[in-house]
């Protein structure tokens, strides 16, 4: 039994549906083959699912960021997968409206061997920039951290005052 999406639905399926569909299929694949997939393998699985959907009657219109930690090579990995199902490994990324405001900050401050605290400082710069410039009432972010021990939610103070430059 393979999890299948409803191909006869007249509506474009939502990104949430795609995420849950891939989530279920990856769990199924791991159960069947008795092995956890590495982040690179997961990225290939997701890319191929999206590529199949792209060539169907009602494709998913979804952009993805895939963050993972490979316990074998002991290295973090990040993949950018767009709605045309192209996948690229990247050092940092942002998507949606946030990318217009955050990528320049990340470009300037990111360095391959920064530690966690420095990463959170850069994230603070990004959210400050969003609060200053995004023409939407920006309420805050949900921060999740992927480490070798698993995935955790990181508390983040959204109400910190933002100073104009």
């Amino acid at each position: 039994m393979y999890y299948r999406r409803d191909e006869h639905s007249p509506l474009t399926p939502s990104p949430v549906q795609f995420a849950e569909y891939v989530q279920a299929n990856i769990q199924l694949y791991s159960k069947r083959n008795g092995s956890e997939l590495s982040p690179y393998e997961v990225s290939s699985f997701v890319r191929s699912s999206l590529a199949k959907s792209l060539r169907s009657r009602n494709p998913y219109n979804v952009n993805l960021l895939l963050g993972g930690f490979d316990p074998i090579t002991d290295k973090p990995e990040l993949y950018w997968i767009d709605y045309l199902a192209s996948s690229a490994r990247v050092p940092y990324a942002a998507h949606g409206y946030a990318q217009y405001y955050c990528l320049s900050t990340l470009d300037k401050h990111h360095h391959p061997d920064i530690d966690f605290e420095q990463g959170m400082k850069i994230l603070r710069m990004c959210t400050d920039e969003l609060k200053r410039r995004l023409p939407i009432d920006f309420k805050g972010v949900l921060v999740k951290v992927v480490t070798k021990d698993g995935i955790r939610e990181e508390p983040y103070e959204d109400e910190k005052p933002v100073y104009a430059p």
Partner: protein
């Protein structure tokens, strides 16, 4: 910045695919969540 549209703050647009992999998704503007944009 204050504006006519307000983004929902506590909306989790990620799914964990296994113990070490997390996927964040986004769709067309204003289309991703069930109720992304709330009236001001």
């Amino acid at each position: 910045m204050r504006g006519p549209t307000v983004l929902k703050a506590q909306d989790d647009k990620t799914r964990s695919l296994n113990k070490h992999t997390l996927m964040a998704y986004s769709g067309e503007a204003g289309d991703t969540g069930m109720s992304d944009v709330l009236p001001a």
